[in-house]
Amino acid sequence: MSATSSARARAWRRGFYRFRQSLLSVVGLTLVGLLILAALLGPMIVPFPQDLAGTVHTAARFQPPGAAHWFGTNELGQDVFSLVLAGTRISLLSGMAVVAIGAAVGVLVGAIAGFFAGWIDELLMRLVDLVLTVPSLILAMAVAAALGPGIVNMVVAITLSWWPGYARLVRGEVMAKKNEAFVVASIAAGAGVGRLLWRHILPNILSPIIVKMSLDVGFAVLTVASLGFIGIGVRPPTPEWGTLLAVSRGNIPDDWWTAICPGTAIFIAVFAFNLLGDGIRDLLDPRARR
């Protein structure tokens, strides 16, 4: 027991060493850490909390960035820094929710399809193919338009186009694992299907799932912002980054900061999660390391 645990500890240390070697992964990890901090504390530490509720200051419209307003003020005189900071929570939370729910549904569907094979597999995989025939952003757009505005509806809409990728991945992995000796042994020992999948197969296929999830978060954040930008999803005054950008894009070039700041926030968040995702993939998937 102690021999395996010390070997495991050594593997972890080696992994972290490799991770640290890659400058970009460390940059990604740091940025994601800061973003999570901003998401947790954001709404509490913003300099102008009343602006989040939609208060209008006509006298303070379009003030350029300065000491009082770091990112300037917008067409309603609201502090752009406060809005962008508070928006971190919405973007991160909805992005992570999409990936988490999408992965959960996909893992369930994929595991059932891969384990039972036969007509269940055929049926579920045709469903997966079907959802994948429409580009995810377009599918999410149509579903969100049908469901109506709101953060929950937006997350549901994106998730509906998100789970098939996981279902495909998990199905393949489960099919590869289910004939291995340890699975056959636990079937012989009388393990039920649920226990078999949950306790024996899932832990063994976890790393490709984690890799996909970490690579997906940035893309999910981007999709949330995209829907906000085309006017689906949350409505003002909720400070969602894509919505902020859509509202203020008419302000360029004169009052550029109102659009540039939320846009840059989207970029940094997506970039950070993508860098981190690449790092995690290199760590967990030795074949991808080149």
Binding site: L24, R126, D129, L130, V131, T133, V134, P135, S136, L137, I138, L139, M141, A142, V143, A145, A146, L147, G148, G218, L222, A225, S226, F229, I230, G231, I232, G242, L245, R249, I252, P253, W256, A259, I260, G263, T264, I266, F267, V270, F271, N274, L275, D278, R290
Partner: protein, 335 residues
């Protein structure tokens, strides 16, 4: 090869039928009454009821789907409340603009992405490779709508090099309609000036749209080239004293490209999705802008129509990619 193509086209039918079922399901996701959405936000209860009867919404779901599917075949894709025209007619008018944009973006991405990826693989782990890596990661992370906005700010507003938005100047004559792709139509009419003008309008949206697939193609091409470079036959060719250039262009490129090609098909879907964002930024009069204006006016049938249209396009493009793939790689068509 002919039987391969015929088989693939036959396989298309169930996919398209499935697609119509998916789209039909979306129209039934609407909370409450789909007739209310079809009738528009300001309809009276009597109007809603009339539409409900007209569309057979009081009938069972399979009957409704059958009506919907046969309607699609007869060209009935619903009406746009905003334009007061059949959706299919609107789509026919707006689709060429989208195709022109998507094809231009794809061409840019492929033409630049393949050599850049090859370059990164040859200079693997040296500075050209690292630079490509960081830049392509940045490009993938960049929201296309924000990039478009930055382009407008820089190249149109500050520098004044290129037009801000739109597809063609209002005060100039549009080249005679042939394909609907303005650059091609202008060339066909021998009007070089109009072609140049159309290209200027096309430049910023096409570049904004191409950057993310470009970056992905670079990364794919790099990875597949590195894989091919490690194959035994490449080592043999080196040992035989073949020149680096001959090995790269005659043997490595063809094998590396066929792996990248499937990704290009997938990214065509990503581009079609992206048209919604980029067309909105640049007021490009394609089906993407048509969809987003429909969202703002709560005009539901155009959104459904655009979804179906993009789905069909995506399926057809993937078929084309499969055919090209099979032409490049005989092992595929023998399966």
């Amino acid at each position: 090869m002919v039987s391969f193509i015929a088989r693939r086209i036959l396989l298309l039918i169930p996919v398209v039928v499935g697609l119509t079922m998916l789209v039909f399901a979306i129209t039934r996701l609407v909370p409450g009454d789909p007739a209310r959405l079809a009738a528009g936000p300001n309809a009276t209860p009597a109007q809603i009821e009339a539409i409900s009867r007209q569309f057979g919404l009081d009938r069972p779901l399979p009957v409704q789907y059958w009506r919907y599917a046969t309607g699609l075949l007869h060209g009935d894709w619903g009406m746009s409340i905003y334009s007061r025209r059949p959706v299919l007619q609107d789509l026919r008018d707006y689709l060429p603009a989208t195709l022109e944009l998507v094809l231009a973006a794809m061409a840019l991405a492929v033409v630049l992405g393949i050599p850049l990826g090859l370059l990164a693989a040859i200079y693997r782990n040296r500075w050209p490779d690292m630079l490509t890596n960081v830049v392509s990661m940045g490009a993938i992370s960049m929201p296309r709508f924000f990039l478009g906005l930055l382009f407008q700010l820089g190249f149109a507003m500050a520098l004044g090099w290129l037009p801000l938005s739109g597809r063609f100047p209002l005060d100039e004559d549009v080249p005679p309609h042939l394909t609907g792709l303005l650059t091609i139509d202008a060339l066909a009419a021998g009007d070089l000036h109009a072609c140049w003008v159309a290209l200027q309008y096309l430049a910023l949206p096409a570049i904004a749209m191409s950057l993310s697939p470009l970056a992905t193609i670079v990364r794919m091409m790099r990875a597949s080239t590195i894989e091919v470079l490690q194959q035994d036959y490449v080592t043999t060719e080196r040992a035989l004293g073949l020149s680096q250039r001959l090995i790269l262009f005659k043997y490595v490129l063809k094998n590396a490209i066929s792996a990248t090609l499937t990704v290009i098909g997938l990214y065509f879907g990503w581009l079609l999705g992206g048209t919604v964002l980029v067309e909105t930024v640049f007021d490009w009069p394609g089906i993407g802008l048509y969809a987003t204006s429909a969202i703002l006016t709560q005009d539901f049938m155009p959104i459904v129509g655009v979804t179906l249209c993009i789905g069909v396009l995506f399926v057809v493009v993937n078929l084309l990619v499969d055919v090209i793939y099979a032409a490049l790689n005989p092992r595929v068509r023998l399966k």
